[in-house]
Symmetry: C2
Subunit: 327 residues, 2 copies
């Protein structure tokens, strides 16, 4: 059997064969995305990228599945990236969730991929960004990134996606927490799923109440009610997404969004490489010092960094001034 | 009112006034721990540090509370650090959990502190390590670090703690996942809580079955059954902790554990500072490049790093070789 190499991969990718995309994402996931992305990045910028996050149990996979059905009914192609949160305790539940997407497994216009977010800083998280770029470059019209709102993943997704959906369910007491945690800032559209729940009305009222307390300079988050399992509210949700996309394009904010996503990717890649170097340092030589701070100074010196901005750091860490403030 | 400054803080700390410890941890949490830790680190190394992790709902706070009661009954003092996982969706539940510790709020021998793990890499996570050091230096006999098993926090806690308890509950299907995710490697003691559950026996059998499949070169994880709410099994749990501590001391493994915790702290501090510098770079100048990888190269160059080990990195990222392997 002839080996499947880089040129075969590119040929399949160019021919829009799913195998080409699948392999390309695997390469990125293995931390080897550099050459591929270098070749293909100029083809990106066409897809609508949607992030979907929310607490466990809110019905994200059902929502995803319903959105995929809607997008397909419009004749558009769609890629779904399910990001596993980095918990060793939740794999089972998520795999269960994923099964709900199986109805789309045989549809050539739907490409589904799940990725772990556990592990290396910038590593697999960076691979998610690469996967978005690859799906976009491949020519998929819509890229939907879905993650459970646990860990940092929901913030990352908001940085990658142009339109962020925050799904909430009635009766879970989520809403109050949402405001507290500042997730308000990442939501372009709130989705109240399980609309048949008796507390659904209250949750909607709470979200509206919170929005009234805030000043929005640009886009005001939309509130959509769905019952994803029955397919209800999905047309409205899609229409809200289209309105947000139109808003981004009309105001030119789409450029800011693209710039943010690009910066986010650069940050993840740079951090990943810095961390690699740090691990090598720590592996080659046990850190020494009277205390962890002194040892960290030593490691950073050994890093070959004269630490620009040292003065600034020194100022920031001088506790005397701050402690005085803590009366 | 006279300002409460660094010298007042140290005086209170030396006099073992809880206010001194509380302020010291606040200083660390504000990212200003350097001078404090520099002064106090030589006093550390006396406390027994215990990590407690497990999935949401397993009864960690009830277990913590029962352990605190046990430790107090032995005349020892104890510090509890509750690490909030970094999810905007779970604050409510955790605050609820915390309430279960209130019975100890008026006990001078118990010091309870909750810390957020959300946010800055190395920032608040580093502060958790500082808090452990400060409680140890303060003279508390036992330091218990409790976190929900979500995100990376449970791995971090295993790196900081000398004895790690992994709590599981019957009937949740956790056990199989535990092995998958390699959490087996962090558990020194498995705690099957809610022992009155009909599936409790099966969970114990599954854990034992998994342990039989593995080779342990040193400590073989203990399996303890509790019903924390009724206070059952807590004596056995404490005795298992004491056995593990004795094992660490007798074999000298305690030195390895201390070294690992130290390295972990150094890593977090160094990463935090590298990240600070990176953010400054990204803030001062928009990353430029044909694609995110090229832009990251540029940022790392601007970082003032000639990137030692560049060849190694270049080798690692050359996709051709690896893609061939993916036939």
């Amino acid at each position: 059997m002839r080996p499947y190499g880089f040129s075969e991969l590119l040929r399949d990718f160019d021919a829009r064969k799913p195998r080409g995309l699948a392999r390309a994402i695997s390469v990125a996931e293995a931390g080897q995305g550099r050459e591929l992305i270098g070749k293909l990045f100029s083809r990106t910028g066409r897809a609508i990228t949607i992030g979907l996050t929310g607490p466990p149990g809110v019905g994200k996979s059902t929502l995803s599945s319903a959105l995929v059905r809607k997008v397909r009914s419009l004749g558009k192609t769609v890629g779904v990236i399910s990001v596993d949160p980095s918990s060793p305790f939740s794999h089972g539940a998520l795999l269960g969730d994923r099964i709900r997407l199986t109805e789309h497994f045989t549809d050539e216009g739907v490409f589904i991929r799940s990725m772990a977010s556990r592990g290396h800083l910038g590593g697999v998280a960076g691979a998610t960004a690469d996967a978005v770029s690859l799906m976009d470059a491949f020519g998929l019209d819509v890229v939907l990134i879905e993650t459970v709102g646990v860990g940092q993943s929901e913030i990352e997704i908001a940085e990658l996606a142009h339109t962020t959906l925050v799904a909430l369910q009635p009766g879970s007491g989520d809403s109050i927490q949402v405001l507290k945690a500042g997730i308000m800032e990442i939501a372009d559209i709130f989705v109240v799923n399980k609309a048949d729940h008796p507390m659904s009305h209250q949750l909607r009222r709470e979200i509206r109440g919170m929005m009234e307390m805030l000043d929005f300079s640009g886009w005001v988050p939309t509130l959509v009610t769905t019952q994803a399992l029955a397919g209800e509210g999905i047309d409205e949700l899609w229409s809200a997404i289209e309105q947000h996309v139109a808003y981004l394009n009309e105001t030119g904010e789409i450029k800011t969004k693209r710039r943010e996503a690009f910066t986010h990717q650069v940050r993840q890649l740079a951090l990943g490489r810095l961390q690699q170097r740090l691990e090598r340092e720590l592996h080659h030589r046990l850190p020494e010092g009277a205390d962890p701070y002194a040892a960290a100074d030593q490691v950073l010196l050994d890093f070959g960094n004269p630490i620009p901005g040292e003065l600034e750091i020194e100022e920031a860490i001088r506790p005397r001034a701050t402690v005085k403030g803590l009366t």
